[in-house]
Point group: C2
Chain length 415, copies 2
Amino acid sequence: MPPLEFFRLQTRQEVLAFYPRFAPVGTEEVELAGAVGRVLAGPVSAPEAVPSFLRASMDGYAVRARDSFGASVGAPQYLEIKGEVAMGAVPDRGVGPGEALRVPTGAMLPAGADAVVMIEYAAQHPDQTLEVRRAVAPGENVLQPGEDVRAGEQLFAAGVRLRPQDIGLLAALGITRLTVPRRPRVAILSSGDEIVPIDQKPGPGQVRDANAYLAAAQVRAWGGLPLIKGIIADDFPALRAALAAALIEADLILISGGSSVGVRDLTLSAIRDLPGAVILVHGVAIRPGKPTILAAVGEDGAQPLLGLPGHPASAAVVMEVLGRPLLEHLAGLKPQAPWGRSVTAALSRNLAGASGREDYVRVRLRREGDTLWAEPVLGPSGLLSPLVKSDGLVMIPLGVEGLFKGEQVVVRLFG
Amino acid sequence: MPPLEFFRLQTRQEVLAFYPRFAPVGTEEVELAGAVGRVLAGPVSAPEAVPSFLRASMDGYAVRARDSFGASVGAPQYLEIKGEVAMGAVPDRGVGPGEALRVPTGAMLPAGADAVVMIEYAAQHPDQTLEVRRAVAPGENVLQPGEDVRAGEQLFAAGVRLRPQDIGLLAALGITRLTVPRRPRVAILSSGDEIVPIDQKPGPGQVRDANAYLAAAQVRAWGGLPLIKGIIADDFPALRAALAAALIEADLILISGGSSVGVRDLTLSAIRDLPGAVILVHGVAIRPGKPTILAAVGEDGAQPLLGLPGHPASAAVVMEVLGRPLLEHLAGLKPQAPWGRSVTAALSRNLAGASGREDYVRVRLRREGDTLWAEPVLGPSGLLSPLVKSDGLVMIPLGVEGLFKGEQVVVRLFG
């Protein structure tokens, strides 16, 4: 077995720059009703116009707008009501000069009509005379054909994550099935002779496999399909076999666990022994999270493998900072607007940075009057509870000695 | 049929004040691995301590800290290495004065040891002498029993939405199943004679049932189970029967569609005719969204029914502002921290408010240098595309005449 070697620590940007070499996952078809939150595999254009006809947007009377000109409460215009338009039907007659047809909201306008006088500004006399008390402009209280969407218009680019209103617009166009990237399948392997399954009572010196469940929940929350593969014994043949099996089944392999030098060494050897394996990153310049591995494995090195640090806080940070962008790349997601994924807050105390590494500090948010405070939640990275007590992470950039109390910082929110 | 009557328009706060009368849905058990994003039905306490034993948090040598006192590179202390501790096992001996045992990260500390000298600050001589080059304090590089979680400590309150790190902590404690509120079942009924199913080509004067799909996607995105019940004919017996069936099946009924006075009138009559029906709200002081209905229906009036306006933008806003809090109440979710659900931005133009109503304006966000702009996306509420082009809503409070260009506004993000 070769001795443990660290490459030069690589920066976050250097790690992210490797991702384009990994092929995004294939696509699948989904029903529109289940597509909220999914990502479009290709651009979508409108097959037809919406609305497809001149449509009343208020309850009232379809008229020729010019017939209403000059109308006011003091000097109304009088038109002749010739009937009404039924919902969902083609009007059985048009509107000529001096005529009106009663229309409900959403109905088709009769030929000749170009506006709707709202019911509030009209009175219907028993002799079917309509008293119009307010003039309407041509196009008033109607929706023009194509006003919502023009036929052929591009609605969405590839890689857009669909929100409820996007689903509504697609429904209006009769687009009932969509092609989306599959959810990336993420195999999660745990290593470490001290680790037992979560449904077992650990003996003295043993702990439960918490990291795998944390990583699986992150994968699920971010749109992937986690496959928890269980605990692999700390020996080369077992690890090598489990990795090879995961390679066939998954789009991305995560190895979780093993902080000790011996286990990391073994893991690295087993990865190196996979077909097509190239170790791209061994050690990243972030804190916590230094002992992270990124490898290209499988045919043409097309599949990524991420070796996570053993400490839970380190693994969680590496997943947030490096795992999530990798998953989003595999899932074909375009970089999305950052709104909602971070907030700006005032730091509640001085913080020293990590020399030579990008430093990720867990913080809790607290509002006090007009100020939103980011309070560092300290504690060794071997603990889970500081993560649980935190709302997000503050990053101290590489080369920055520290941040000062009161300084405005960007808090990257968990979730 | 009684004539259409509007109650006094009720404010958002008045509508929300009715929600406590509705019973939250029952509970179900879920596996921990699938519980991310779910809400805890009750508080959860730690059945045991984590870690359960004194644990090394670094690779190195377990020692009695006092034996290292005074050690430096120039004046090391010398200890005798008596063996090593295996991962996941109980050390087969303790550490006496002047002794050390090699330990990997995560291993149990031997009796007598109270600190770990990191491998970086020690040298192992061939005669099993350990040269300690830096003093360690008692407790250094170890995790104390209960340092992460004390036995019996309350970890989570009822109503907390579980994040990945929360799942990790529960896994560490061996809590493999959780009791959570069921996902509220939400029946979505569409009414309107002009409406056709989304997989049909609308004839002249007809439109597809987009609103139901928009509402269903909102329900799904917010943790409910949408049940799209299809299009109900605009007649009293059909509507009455469909509502009665939904009452049995669902926790919440949404009626979508029907903007015209006639349809709203009919809907109201059918609701009134349900067992236990009380109309609580008929008309809300928000724009868009005035013709909203809230009713208590079913036995003891325990089930809520929300009648949505027919215009898609109005329905979407009412769902955001009134539907989402109702769904969250039914699902037992405690009010969550607002981080991530809104951002502050500068308004790009003057905006007039709606007299006597809380006004919700769709906005698109755009970053320009250091400024995040909220740009109103105008358009009639009968259109879907302005919603699709928007990132969120700006609210102009009741009684405020308008907002000025450049003013800092809170943008409530869609999603």
